[in-house]
């Protein structure tokens, strides 16, 4: 029985060590391309910094890798997140999207944040600083709504549904 356990332990160690040699993707690019989101819209600094901290790691060509990203299998998971994230939405390439697609994306950003789908738990769990605070969500959604259309009473209600305390004075229903 004890021999058995020892064998398993050795196998596990070998696998873990072996994993460290898996080739990794490097998603890094110094220069900010002309098609970047910040060149498409007039993005205020506070909104930009939220996007950069909580979204750009997976949704751009430049990931800010933490030290533990060099350890497998963490890196493996991270690479997968980044590949999938960029395919869905790449802020660096936003300017090259058609108008139709830009609008779809803005709408999806609001939906994903509101429904707490993004940033995903599996990501914020490993990268605690990327978690969006309630006031950051509001700032972001409010800014996108203002960008998308003239704010009507109804749009204020959307924000109201996200943050009832702050915006409850707008709820006339």
């Amino acid at each position: 029985m004890k021999k058995w356990l020892k064998k398993i332990a050795i196998v596990l160690v070998v696998i873990l060590v072996g994993m460290q040699f898996i080739p990794t993707d490097v998603n890094q690019q110094e220069e900010i391309p002309k098609t970047d989101f910040r060149h498409v819209y007039n993005v205020p600094n506070n909104v930009m910094s939220i996007l950069q901290t909580s979204c750009y790691d997976c949704h751009s060509n430049n990931t800010n890798y933490p030290w533990y990203s060099n350890i497998q299998p963490i890196r493996f998971l991270m690479d997968k997140h980044i590949r999938e994230g960029k395919e869905e939405l790449n802020f660096n390439e936003f300017g090259s999207y058609s108008d139709r697609r830009k609008k779809n994306k803005l709408k999806s950003i609001i939906g994903q944040i509101k429904d707490e789908e993004m940033p995903p738990l599996s990501y914020t769990f490993m990268h605690g600083n990327t978690h969006l605070l309630q006031e950051e969500k509001i700032k972001l959604i409010e800014w996108i709504i203002n960008l998308k259309f003239k704010k009507t009473k109804k749009q204020i209600l959307i924000i109201g549904a996200v943050m009832p305390i702050t915006f409850s004075r707008h709820n006339h229903y």
Binding site: G111, F149, I158, V162
Partner: protein, 210 residues
């Protein structure tokens, strides 16, 4: 603890909005009518907002000329809507896979350069929306979110390509977080894919596409 309370509050208020916007007796037709009259006053906002949000085409811009066969695309789209009316997210996902394939297989003919470019953009968006619907078999709200943009894609596609079918552009003021959303139907009776079994007959015909 505090966060939990916040969430609960937002749920309650969001719930309150839905009930407030919809009236309580949804099964009664009379009530639905009243409802729509009530919503009518805000209609103006919707049209404004819709124009601001999408580079929508005027659906009457096609003078009866048919520039491609949309039958398959439309049939899959209608059947997707039927599944969402029934709140059946997993069938909706299956149908949407077929819709994706028929969108990818579509080619128009006799299109001007501008029209072709627009069709390409619509297709890119429609395929993306349809793929999302098929990938989210467990999230009906997410599927419905993508149906909003997909319906605009389908509508614009019909405007350029044309169709021999008699179709209806329907509108639900409560969909899209009370911002309203359209969908295309081949039946005159309202069958609302956004509200599902909660309020299947909420909505009205915006216009008839002939």
């Amino acid at each position: 603890m505090k966060k939990g309370n916040l969430k609960l509050m937002s749920l309650l208020i969001a719930g309150g909005l839905i009930v407030g916007g919809c009236g309580n007796n949804n099964d009664s037709k009379d009530n639905n009518h009243e409802n729509h009259e009530h919503q009518e006053s805000m209609e103006h906002d919707h049209s404004l907002h819709n124009h601001g949000e999408t580079a929508e085409r005027d659906i009457t811009s096609n003078n009866g000329e048919i520039k491609g066969d949309l039958t398959q695309v439309l049939n899959h789209y209608f059947s997707l809507n039927e599944q969402l009316v029934k709140d059946d997210a997993s069938s909706a996902a299956n149908v949407s896979e077929k819709l994706t394939a028929s969108l990818k297989g579509f080619t128009g003919f006799g299109l001007s350069e501008d029209e072709q470019k627009e069709v390409d953009e619509i297709m890119e968006s429609a395929i993306e929306n349809a793929e999302h619907i098929s990938e989210n078999a467990d999230k009906i709200d997410h599927q419905r979110e993508h149906l909003i943009s997909l319906s605009i894609d389908v509508k614009d596609l019909i405007a350029i390509i044309g169709t021999s079918q008699k179709l209806y552009e329907d509108f639900c003021p409560m969909a899209n977080d009370n911002n309203g959303a359209i969908w295309i139907s081949n039946k005159e009776a309202i069958s609302n894919p956004y509200m599902g079994t909660k309020m299947p007959t909420c909505g009205k015909v915006n216009r008839i596409i002939n």
